[in-house]
Amino acid sequence: MQAIVQIRGLCRAYRQGDIEVVALNNISLDIPEGGFTALMGPSGSGKSTLLHIIAGIDRPTSGSCVVRGVNVAELSETELAGWRNSQIGFIFQTFNLIPVLSAFENVEMPLLLTGLSGAERRAHVEAALELVGLQDRMHHLPRQLSGGQEQRVAIARALVTDPTLIVADEPTGNLDARAAADVLELLTVLNRDAGKTIIMVTHDPKAAGFARRMLHLEKGELLRDEEMRGV
């Protein structure tokens, strides 16, 4: 299958006082279109840094990260913002919904940058919320939703622009087992039935078990690349 993400010789180092910390060291890998990839590793292994670079919210020190033909590292701040809006759907561990906006308005936010009409936006938002099973919670504020529901709203927000990639940073980290299973099931459905390419950072082997491929990082290096059978 064609690679949607091509990473070559990727390094990311940053300074902590006088010390240079290497977060990623010479990573090269391909992520195929339509894949469900889990990035695993202990704290400080560089898995979140890798995800952030792929999502265009961090920049590599050297090397390249090409997503569907675009080297993300070469885009300006302004170009990156537009690129993230059209190419990336981001799911956070802490949901990161805007607390003063309803579920509908939260999902609508990325669409405000697309030039769609109000009616078109409404149709997209309703479809996305229906897909995550929250059409009856559209006008609820985040605080009126459970953690699992909040994360499903965040997933609807991530997929409403029909992005190239959905990236999830510990999406079940703040959920109980039941809600976590629901969210992972939803991601699996999005990958399997809607063909969405998903990259998920997790340190939970159970969560990683939902993916079809697992990349194991440690100390900024890629240790293992395993194909999984999925659940």
Binding site: D58, T78, G82, R84, N85, F90, V100, L112, R157
Partner: protein, 387 residues
Amino acid sequence: MPSIPLSYNVRSIRVRWRTTLATVWGVGAVVAVFVMVMSLARGLKATYVQTGDPRNLLVLRSGSTAESSSQITREELARMKYLPGIERDAQGRPMFSPEIIVLIYLDRLNAEGGANVLVRGMGEMGLVVRPSVKLVEGRMFESGRRECVVSRRIANRFANCRIGDSFKAGKGEWTVVGLYEAERSAYESEIWADADEVRAAFGRDFYGSILLRPESEETAARVTKRIESDLALNARVLKETDYYSDQTRSAGPIQFMGGFLAAIMSIGAAFAAMNTMYAAVGARTREIGTLRVLGFKRRSIYLSFLLESVILSGVGGLLGCLASLPLNGVATGTFGWTTFAEIAFEFRITPELLGKGMIFALAMGILGGLLPARMAARKPVLDALKA
């Protein structure tokens, strides 16, 4: 450029209602003070601008800038009274009023203390050359008697000024026989009596000024030239309206005080707005990071937070303007720097003044919001998300 919806700002403001209220109150108070003090200055200015008849000429001693410092002798008066070009009434009498002003001290009505009030002694034509002045109660004073008419505003502010009342001033006791209104002009800060009685009571053997009515614009120029070129007179002639317009400098100190007070207070209010917005940026750092991840550009974040500050100050400005509105038309008085007497006037709150108050409020919002908005826009995405 696509922008972050306004509802996001408005609802965020509502969530932080305590700090919102403090900022709105601060900006509102500054705008209210600004509008009130400026309306005071405007009311005072308007009082002078509205005084006088454009047809009248005022004669003062050459070199005098005010009636109070001018002296015109009886001989000089006689040289001017029958000059050709001065309008005459139906009985053929020249419309010519020799006048003198003196200050008397009167107790305030229903309040402690008192203030100087201007008494104008005038000739028998004094009322005729001031057609805008209307006797609203009682009658006009009679020549040769210690009687006076009082403006209704003065009667409302000072003791012993009602019809039938009397007060001591100079060497005599004056009886109030009438009340007048003068279309909110400076005349409403005066008490009028017979010029010769005033001169006698206050020991003056001169007049202060002459108010006369020329037949026309052309004759006004001739009369002016005739008086000013007469070496025996040593007088200057000016339009009555110009004389009073010039007195608007009385409003200067108030205007300065208003501007100064508002400037000092606005610095505090702008800092309050800044503080509120810094707190808002601090509390919503992760939201800023999320918005950036979703694709909103730095400029959108910047404008959104700046707009929020402007909304805050706009609401404050609106409330400040509303708070000042009840003062519109309220009568008050102040010390007049040119007459050294109390000047009665009304607060004047005009749409233009309210507009200036709002601009002032929005300027405070922009000033207070600039740095916090810049800080919000410049936050690196990752740092913001980790907050």
